[in-house]
Symmetry: C2
Subunit: 297 residues, 2 copies
């Protein structure tokens, strides 16, 4: 696998993950409408960056990527549930997500809330249920622990609350960074960490991979803010400049557009530097990093 080009890896495993998450939902004995709502948002596309990170770390350790499939799918389900709940009228009140009607626009608010709840719950079931010779009970518990921490009050959900509280306020760079570290950073970090746990990484490697994903997460968010100014609506799937309109603090608004680009380049450089410390074959992780720096959507 190590010699595989990033393009082949990304296409192959994106497709595999997209197949598996739908398969997992199909297997449920549950009301059809609930399953349809869960599948609708899982099918809505996206870069699948989190599952690809899980698998790319396993690849760096030359491990069997199948060991990571349930966890990769679980993390994508958590990400998807968070989008469904974020889009609700009580939260961001978004009608479109990736150019398609949001979950509650199609299934109604009540079902959208419950579809999110079901995806979150199912994610832990999938990890606990992993059957693969490389995956020990201790690993599964460690995955559940780290992913729950990253997704919950101390991670993503906490970041979401901080984000809401920061709306229509002038934030400092530290406050903005806190929000992003939690709202998007922690789950990206948990994806990388999950790959490391499943690979039996050393403490030093885990430290470097955490630092790597810290920089990757911030780079991801800065790129998002830059795209909101420079991107085209068709490419990013939401109205360009919507952050500015909301009076939201962003990296460009705090650092200027040029300053944000400099900051982005610094985080990308640091991400590569941390990867080098692992002494692994990180060709895929390096390519994911560059893709994040340059992405158009």
């Amino acid at each position: 696998m190590n010699a595989t080009s990033f393009h082949t890896f990304s296409e192959t495993y994106k497709q595999l993950i997209e197949l598996k998450i739908i398969e997992y939902v199909e297997e449920l004995k549950a009301p059809d409408n609930l399953k349809a709502a869960m599948a609708y948002s899982l099918k809505a596309g996206g870069k699948r960056i989190r599952p690809l990170l899980v698998l790319a770390v396993l690849d760096a350790f030359a491990k069997d990527l199948n060991a990571g499939v349930p966890t990769a799918a679980a993390i994508e389900m958590i990400h998807t549930y968070s989008l469904i709940h974020d889009d609700l009228p009580a939260m961001d009140d978004d009608d479109l997500r990736r150019g398609k009607p949001t979950n509650h626009k199609v299934f109604g608010e009540a079902t959208a809330i419950l579809a999110g709840d079901a995806l979150l719950t199912y994610s832990f079931q999938l990890i606990a249920n992993t059957e693969h010779p490389d995956v020990t009970p201790e690993m599964k518990l460690n995955l559940i622990l780290e992913i729950a921490k990253a997704a919950g009050a101390e991670g993503m959900v906490g970041g979401q609350v901080a984000d809401m509280e920061g709306e229509n306020k002038q934030l400092s760079l530290e406050e903005l960074q806190y929000i992003h570290e939690h709202k998007t950073g922690k789950l990206l970090m948990a994806s990388v960490l999950s790959g490391a746990i499943l690979s039996g990484a050393s403490a030093e490697q885990i430290h470097a991979l955490k630092q790597f994903s810290y920089h990757l997460g911030l780079a991801f968010q800065i790129r998002d803010d830059i795209l909101d100014i420079e991107g085209s609506e068709g490419e990013i799937g939401k109205p360009v400049g919507s952050d500015t309109g909301n009076n939201k603090s962003t990296y460009p608004s705090l650092l200027t557009l040029t300053g944000a680009k400099v900051r982005l380049a610094e985080h990308i450089k640091m991400a590569h530097k941390e990867l080098a410390k692992t002494q692994l074959d990180t060709v895929l992780l390096n390519e994911i990093t560059d893709m994040i720096a340059k992405r158009k959507s």
Copy 2:
């Protein structure tokens, strides 16, 4: 512990669980407002029947009850998150719960949704994090698996969707039973099953305890429906007759009030019968069963 009267057991462990769940929330490094919203609904009272069931099963096996505390707290958190989400304007739109303003009335809808999400996520973290000499990694994984199944699309959330779909429709007894088995029954069953898993119960004992909790869950729901007709508003904390007003199918509406009472007595009898099969000292479980049959709120 086996000689302890039910009253002492219930008072002691209700208090312990109520202390522990707040302590667990206090420990979180998260925005204050989020923690306040989580704690608000956890503190709102209730019978704590689910955590008491976990501990009463451990007691029947003469095990150290401390082994069950994180799981008992986790299940109460899942129950609480489900109440917060059920009360939302998009769902049941309730202003009061146990006589107090509902979560979204105090903290707003967005924070209420996120507090529910955080409680659900935290519950799995707490189980994975259990530190007790009697609790093996395999047990923890089994707990997570069974509780996630009971709480998710195949259990509570699926029952909630079926309940919504059945509103303003004349349901058959089978349909009504499906809803209750899933919406409330599965998590009650998971509470009993969790105690059994933590006690290293035999397959026969697990079978009998599952049957016990099946009857207990239905008895619980039938009693709820009867209370809705016979109870006083002060005692049950919601307007009496609110089910009838909603045009909801209930056991009394399908079986008559007398018929529902007969059915309740049958399930209580069966519950005791299944308990006897376990050949354990089930004094506490027998008393919980009788309490459910006779409860006034």
